[in-house]
């Protein structure tokens, strides 16, 4: 069996080598910096499936003295078939020489058999100083490809393509900060073309990566569904002495109830970040506001949830469907009264439940004291608010490059619900929200159906980009 391929990501300093490795390896711990020389040693980032290594990416330091190295290599006349040996001899001879420490680090994996992924910055002009390093890489004779990474807005890609074509057969563009799933797969497929011995391994990598991506989506959908379901059924209770609690007790209980809901959301977000391998993410975002003014304001509804009109419409549709079932049972002899009454009932209930967060109830007396309970959630809008916040978070995290190090601002700027949930989705979700509110066995089934539905929504968005 062929050894799993390795790819040394090499190039000039500060051209985004580490960012590319970070994005491809889905590892946000890779040191990425705008300061040259951040990477001092080569590091391996294997992709393993069931303990079998399918390929390894190797992050390397940038060339520091390419002209001098090339001069050493050229000192003795060397036919083309002996050039690989000459580079290997250079690595052996200077391996302990600090002057060529960076060159030794980057050439070592190549002379050990790694393919070359040469990275340049397509947003900066081509310069002849790159020729020395490209020539050294050509001397190794290893399979290679060039990656044009545009770090900034300017575009010198055409000049780079012309220059690179003299040294590399495969030239691709790849932006590690923006690259999504499809570009990631395309790059793996390009790497498979570098050497036919590596094709099988990389083909399996593509399949595994696709399957893994689907699993990440599934787990995210399950996390969201579970959180919404648990938040809808969550209650907080305290023991009180009298059967009529004072206002401070009520406020305290309600605050505790809201805090629990916020914690649930925060916990779900952390879990989603973990699913997508973002362990060191820096983010700024608003916490889940459960103040009536915020939760039910037009602004909040516009950003995350549904307006009162939309909620009432969804309630009426759900009630109407239930009533129509009765009409159907009586073969229409009810003159469609079931549907009409159901729609009116559903709409009215939704109208009055819109602004209600939760009741505070006093439960039965036990051993001389009473139990005061807040929850479960009454607000019709709450599940939409929570769902859309979590969907938004998932979409941002799932499409966030692991190469990004700056603070992520999680502030939706438009009606998220319209972008990600179609009308049919919303009707279906309203039905499932209603079932999940029952907090019984049927609610558990509804939760599974909810997760399945969210999975489809996320797949629709995430597998196409």
């Amino acid at each position: 069996m062929n050894k799993a391929p390795a790819f040394a990501v090499v190039g000039h300093p500060n051209k985004g080598k580490s960012a590319i490795v970070s994005a491809l390896a889905m590892d946000d711990t890779v040191a990425v910096s705008d300061v040259p020389g951040t990477t001092k040693r080569h590091s391996a980032y294997p992709f393993e499936v069931d303990g079998t290594r399918l390929y390894t990416l190797i992050d390397t330091p940038g060339f520091q003295r390419p002209a001098e190295v090339l001069e050493i290599l050229r000192k003795e006349p060397c036919p083309a078939d002996k050039r690989f040996e000459a580079v290997r001899a250079f690595v052996r001879r200077y391996k302990d020489n600090p002057r060529f420490a960076d060159e030794i680090e980057l050439l070592t994996p190549i002379v050990e058999g790694a393919g070359i992924v040469y990275v340049v910055d397509g947003s900066k002009p081509y310069g002849s100083e790159y020729e020395a390093e490209m020539e050294i890489l050509r001397w190794t004779g290893q399979p290679s490809m060039a990656l044009i990474n545009r770090i900034d807005e300017s575009d010198f890609t055409d000049a780079w393509r012309r220059a690179l074509s003299g040294y590399f057969h495969i030239i691709r563009t790849f932006d590690p900060m923006q690259a999504h799933y499809t570009q990631h797969l395309a790059l793996l497929e390009s790497m498979a073309q570098m050497d036919e011995r590596w094709t099988a391994s990389l083909k399996r990598s593509v399949e595994s990566f696709t399957a893994y991506r689907k699993r990440q989506i599934k787990h995210s959908a399950e996390t969201i569904a579970r959180t919404v379901s648990e938040a809808l059924c969550h209650t907080e209770s305290v023991t009180i002495a009298a059967d009529v609690p004072d206002e401070s007790q009520k406020t305290m209980l309600m605050e505790r109830y809201k805090e629990s809901l916020r914690n649930m959301e925060a916990h779900a977000k952390t879990k989603i970040e973990k699913i997508w391998h973002h362990s060191r993410i820096q983010k700024s975002e608003d916490t889940l506001s459960l103040q009536n003014d915020d939760l039910f304001s037009e602004k909040s509804a516009e950003l995350f949830g549904l307006t009162r009109k939309e909620i009432v419409t969804a309630g009426a549709v759900t009630g109407g469907i239930g009533g129509a079932g009765i009409d159907l049972l009586f073969l229409g002899h009810t003159m469609f009264l079931g549907g009409i009454v159901g729609a009116i009932g559903g709409g009215t209930a939704a109208y009055f439940a819109f602004e209600k967060l939760s009741d505070i109830e006093i439960l039965g007396r036990k051993l001389g004291s009473y139990t005061m309970r807040a929850g479960p959630m009454k607000s019709r809008n709450f599940p939409y608010v929570l769902l859309n916040r979590l969907l938004y978070h998932t979409m941002r995290i799932a499409t966030l490059s692991h190469a990004k190090r700056e603070t992520l601002h999680l502030q939706p700027d438009t009606r998220f619900v319209e972008r990600y949930l179609e009308e049919s989705d919303r009707k279906h979700l309203e039905t499932l929200h209603r079932k999940m509110r029952k907090c019984d066995e049927e609610a558990q089934k509804a939760r599974l159906s909810y997760a399945e539905h969210l999975k489809r929504v996320l797949e629709r968005k995430l597998l196409s980009q």
């Binding site: 000039h12 300093p13 500060n14 580490s18 390896a25 889905m26 590892d27 711990t29 890779v30 040191a31 910096s33 705008d34 300061v35 040259p36 020389g37 951040t38 990477t39 001092k40 040693r41 080569h42 590091s43 391996a44 980032y45 294997p46 992709f47 393993e48 499936v49 069931d50 303990g51 390894t56 330091p61 940038g62 060339f63 520091q64 003295r65 390419p66 002209a67 001098e68 090339l70 001069e71 002057r99 960076d102 910055d121 900066k124 002009p125 310069g127 002849s128 100083e129 790159y130 020729e131 020395a132 300017s154 595994s208 990566f209 399957a211 893994y212 699993r215 391998h277 066995e441 049927e442």
Partner: protein, 460 residues
């Protein structure tokens, strides 16, 4: 899979469900079972199950009362059937036994309960049945929680669907036992006593109509066991009215014939009470097995467990985390003194620049010189050194601001510093406008020079 396995699995999932690597190893070894999750789980359980001191598993221990309760409830049903038969067939010779009582208790009543069972099955298949909650068996399951106080088994849950089907299945077994009891009661009674059967009703039913009813009841066996089908003559002779308190002398004379009803009654009991119920029992068993399979897959954590077995473990990321991190300059303050750009220099050196463009680039940053030399990027090390030896006086190095400084440039600055009185490095911006590079790039150059100071050299 047994009911006890269902309980044991709840414990094992909690105990071993997080060991993803071990689960995947197991999955790879049993990949042929991926399409049969219950079987896969069963094999996995067998590998992990731990027996108690008495040789049973915690699940078997927990489920044992269910079997015990089933046994005792079946026994009670059987005794009830037997007692019912004795009561219904009680005959003291003064008045014959109305066989309609027996038919009601042995056939009609069980048939009614069977209809209820079928309704419960249909409902259980669709959704959680409320009907089954009236079943004593359902409540017996609830009692299990009180019977077991061990920490491990106290947390066991019974899936409502499974609870329904346990109840439905138990009800059918009790029904069969009841039928066996009543049939045994009939056989014992007719063996030990002389019983005269009659049919008596207030309803205006003629013997012909009753005969049609009897023939319809005997439909399943009338062709292959005609002796168990009462004749028209017997039916006519068995009509009985209690009016006057006296038995028709003709009926008394033919008392032996009145006893000939028993094969019909026995067959009716065997076919309807026992046979049909056994059929329902078999259906209930299938439903129960299906519910058990479903319940097993619905145990909290089982789905994740199966996924860990079936889905490949994917590992991506650093082999040795943080190995690549060098001495990052990004956190150091750039405190190096900044050079002031002069209007003119003795020499302008273009680093990796074309010579003909140098005056224009120098002008773009607001300076000029009497001499210009360009160090081409493609030149060899020696050629570069030779060029730098031409430097004298104050030198201005124009470098590409967007290209990060590398050691090769540091080497050249050191060579240049041997010949120059002072060196000012000016990183320039992108062509075609050039000019001084933006602050982001300048700061990179300043920090770099700060980290490896070179004599007489400053960055603007």
């Amino acid at each position: 899979m047994k009911l006890s396995d269902y309980f044991d699995l709840q414990t094992l999932v909690k105990r071993h469900g997080n060991d993803k690597a071990a689960l995947r190893t197991f999955g790879l070894a049993h990949a042929s079972l991926f399409a049969q999750p219950p079987k896969l789980l069963h094999v996995w359980m067998r590998e992990h199950i731990r027996k108690e001191n008495d040789g049973t598993t915690p699940g078997e221990h927990y489920a044992r009362p269910i079997a015990d309760i089933a046994f005792w409830s079946n026994l009670v049903a059987c005794i009830f059937g037997l007692t019912a038969a004795f009561a219904l067939l009680h005959y003291n010779g003064k008045e014959p036994v109305n066989l309609l009582y027996y038919l009601f208790a042995a056939v009609a009543l069980p048939l009614l309960t069977m209809i209820g069972s079928v309704a419960a099955m249909v409902r259980a298949m669709r959704t959680h049945s409320a009907m089954v909650r009236f079943s004593p068996a359902y409540w017996l399951q609830r009692i299990l929680g009180f019977l077991h106080k061990e920490k491990e088994t106290r947390s066991y849950r019974i899936d409502p669907l499974l609870g329904d089907w346990i109840a439905i299945r138990r009800a059918q077994s009790m029904g069969v036992c009841y039928g066996i009891g009543i049939l045994a009661g009939l056989l014992v009674t007719i063996t030990l006593h002389d019983v005269a059967f009659v049919w008596s009703t207030t309803l205006a039913i003629t013997p012909d109509a009753f005969e049609r009813f009897v023939k319809a009841v005997a439909f399943p066996w009338r062709d292959w066991m005609p002796q168990a089908v009462p004749s028209a003559e017997l039916i006519a002779q068995s009509r009985y009215f209690r009016l006057g308190g006296e038995i028709d002398p003709e009926m008394v004379a033919k008392a032996q014939r009145l006893g000939e009803w028993w094969p019909f009654l026995a067959m009716a009991t065997a076919v309807y009470t026992i046979g049909l119920r056994m059929l329902l029992w078999a259906v209930a068993y299938v439903g129960y097995a299906h519910a058990l399979r479903k319940a097993v897959l619905r145990i909290e954590g089982v789905e994740a467990l199966l996924e860990a077995m079936r889905e490949p473990t994917v590992r991506t990321g650093a082999e040795h985390p943080n190995r690549s991190v060098g001495d990052s300059l990004s956190h150091r303050e750039a405190e190096a003194t900044r050079a002031v750009l002069k209007g003119a220099y003795d020499i302008v050196v273009g680093w990796a620049c074309e010579k003909e463009k140098l005056p224009a680039v120098a002008e773009s940053v607001g300076t000029s010189a009497s001499r210009y030399i360009a160090i081409e990027g493609s030149e060899t090390y020696e050629e570069k050194r030779a060029e730098l030896q031409k430097i004298s006086g104050e030198a201005l190095f124009l470098v590409k601001g967007w290209e990060p400084p590398i050691s090769e440039f540091a080497d050249m600055l050191e060579v240049a510093s041997e010949y120059a009185e002072a060196i000012t490095v000016v990183p320039v911006g992108l062509p075609p406008d050039y000019g001084i590079a933006d602050e982001r790039w300048l700061s990179v150059w300043r920090r770099w020079l700060q980290m490896q100071p070179i004599e007489k050299t400053e960055v603007i």
